[in-house]
């Protein structure tokens, strides 16, 4: 760092050494507050009884020295210097009863508080790291046994559901006026029914085409009808919030997955 010093500044050798020591340290500081905390230690008093005035002078002296040695100080160090210079002048002058805002004493007390708090957190951090630590001082079970998860699905269907379903079919039958060729037509309603039944199992993204009903995937006419109906049904299910749809790119395969709904009410 010596080569960065300006010979024309002409400080005495001991001054320069002291300043350099300070500057070498500056790299290690994490900012003005860190530096202030470090400076405050030279006062060797309880942080609660620290002289903020003295501290401000120390800090300003540090900044001046750094400037003399043409050390680039980060902006926040200079901001702090300006603020401390202001605080110092306020502390030295008799209080102005007209002045608005906090008194110099309040500002000084806050700075002292900040320093004390930072110091307290540092000590807390040291104490924390000094504790026995898992994987270093004490250990968990090395060879764990997993829990085999056995899924037991039960279906929630009552006799009433069954009867109502049957009644629904039978009454619908009577009003069915005309039986169209359903051989090659897969309706959205069918697709919806089909998908409602199976979509619950799709936790992962699954290509929509895998939801085409068996026997509808090869013959073009049937495939078209089934694809259109399945797509329309998936839109409907997405609208109802039961599934999510995604398409990675234009014309890319469309994928769906079940949306996990919160259970219960």
């Amino acid at each position: 760092m010596g080569d960065e010093t300006d010979p024309t500044a002409d400080p005495t050798v001991s001054d320069r050494l002291a300043a350099e020591a300070l500057i070498i340290d500056v790299d290690g500081y994490e900012g003005p507050l860190d530096l202030l905390l470090s400076l405050s230690r030279t006062q060797k008093v309880d942080l609660r009884k620290i002289s903020v005035l003295e501290l401000a002078e120390q800090y300003l002296a540090f900044v001046t020295q750094a400037k003399m040695l043409r050390i680039e100080l980060a902006a926040d160090y200079l901001v702090m210097a300006a603020w401390l210079a202001f605080l110092k002048s306020r502390l030295l002058l008799p209080p102005d009863p007209e002045a608005e805002g906090p008194s110099a004493e309040e500002l000084a007390a806050h700075l002292a508080f900040q320093l004390e708090r930072l110091q307290a957190m540092r000590e807390a951090a040291t104490r924390l790291m000094a504790r026995d630590q898992l994987g270093r001082d004490f250990f968990a079970r090395g060879e764990t046994e997993g829990i085999a998860r056995i899924r037991e699905t039960s279906y929630d269907v009552s006799l009433l559901d069954l009867m109502q379903a049957y009644a629904r079919i039978r009454t619908r039958d009577e009003f069915r006026p005309y039986a169209f060729d359903r051989k090659n037509l897969f309706t959205m309603e069918q697709a919806l029914e089909r998908m409602r039944g199976v979509v619950g199992f799709a936790g992962e993204w699954t290509d929509l085409s895998t939801y085409l009903p068996d026997g509808w995937g090869t013959e073009p006419k049937r495939r078209r009808s089934a694809t259109a109906a399945t797509f329309a049904a998936s839109l409907e299910l997405a609208k109802q919030g039961q599934i999510e749809i995604r398409q990675q790119d234009t014309f890319a395969p469309i994928a769906i997955r079940a949306r996990s709904l919160p259970r219960g009410h």
């Binding site: 250990f139 968990a140 079970r141 090395g142 060879e143 046994e145 997993g146 829990i147 085999a148 998860r149 056995i150 899924r151 037991e152 699905t153 039960s154 279906y155 929630d156 269907v157 009552s158 006799l159 559901d161 069954l162 009867m163 379903a165 049957y166 009644a167 629904r168 079919i169 039978r170 009454t171 619908r172 039958d173 009577e174 069915r176 039986a179 359903r182 897969f186 309706t187 309603e189 069918q190 029914e193 089909r194 409602r196 039944g197 199976v198 619950g200 009903p213 068996d214």
Partner: protein, 205 residues
């Protein structure tokens, strides 16, 4: 009773073996343990004492190859399984299909489709078979000899029925006009059915 070095008392050695076996990701041999313990320790003796201590406990020290390891007591294996009960709604297609099988059994797939007015997907039938609510009945003695479906004991159990004939509400449904008195679709089948072919391909896969 003078000891050459400060050999830890046996109780301490036992603790050491306990901790090592616990924390190790694989079984440890006596040699491996002794190497880690202070000089003069007797891992074998400590292990023997420790094994005794764990006798009848929830975990036991068992020999695995050349080494030793903690293992869950065999009778507690059930704790290492977690039953996840899931309640699911049956799809409308499945409920309807099931209802048709219950009311019309024995019934063929083509008949189910005729009654529902829509195709019955393989998945729906499979699901009901898997739930053991329906099973295959006798083949119909019609061209193509299609299989029929009937409901199972499990079905009756689940819905609290003595027999499918007792399906409560069948008469009531009919009385309410919800069921017409047409002959069972099965009887119509032979004329109407494009199905003979359809059925044979249906269960071939």
């Amino acid at each position: 009773m003078t000891m050459p070095f400060d050999i830890p008392p046996m109780g301490e050695q036992e603790r050491m073996v306990e901790a090592m076996l616990f924390a190790s990701a694989r079984p440890l041999t006596l040699r491996e343990m002794e190497k880690r313990m202070p000089q003069g320790c007797d891992a074998a003796e400590a292990l023997a004492a420790l094994r005794q201590r764990y006798e009848g406990r929830g975990v036991q020290i068992t020999r695995v190859g050349e080494g030793w390891a903690f293992r869950t007591a065999p009778d507690l294996g059930f704790l290492m399984q977690q039953q996840i009960a899931e309640q699911k709604k049956l799809s409308r297609a499945a409920i309807e299909t099931l209802a048709i099988v219950a009311y019309h059994q024995p019934v063929t797939r083509a008949e189910i489709e005729e009654i529902r007015g829509v195709a019955v997907s393989r998945g729906t039938i499979d699901q009901l078979l898997e739930l053991e609510w329906i099973r295959f009945g006798r083949r119909r003695m019609t061209p193509g000899r299609p299989v029929t479906f009937v409901v199972t004991e499990e079905f009756l159990d689940h819905f609290g029925l003595e027999s499918a004939r007792d399906l409560p509400g069948l008469k009531e449904l009919r009385a309410a006009g919800l069921l017409d008195n047409r002959p069972m679709p099965g009887i119509l089948r032979s004329e109407e059915e494009p199905g003979a072919k359809g059925q044979s391909e249906m269960f071939e896969e």
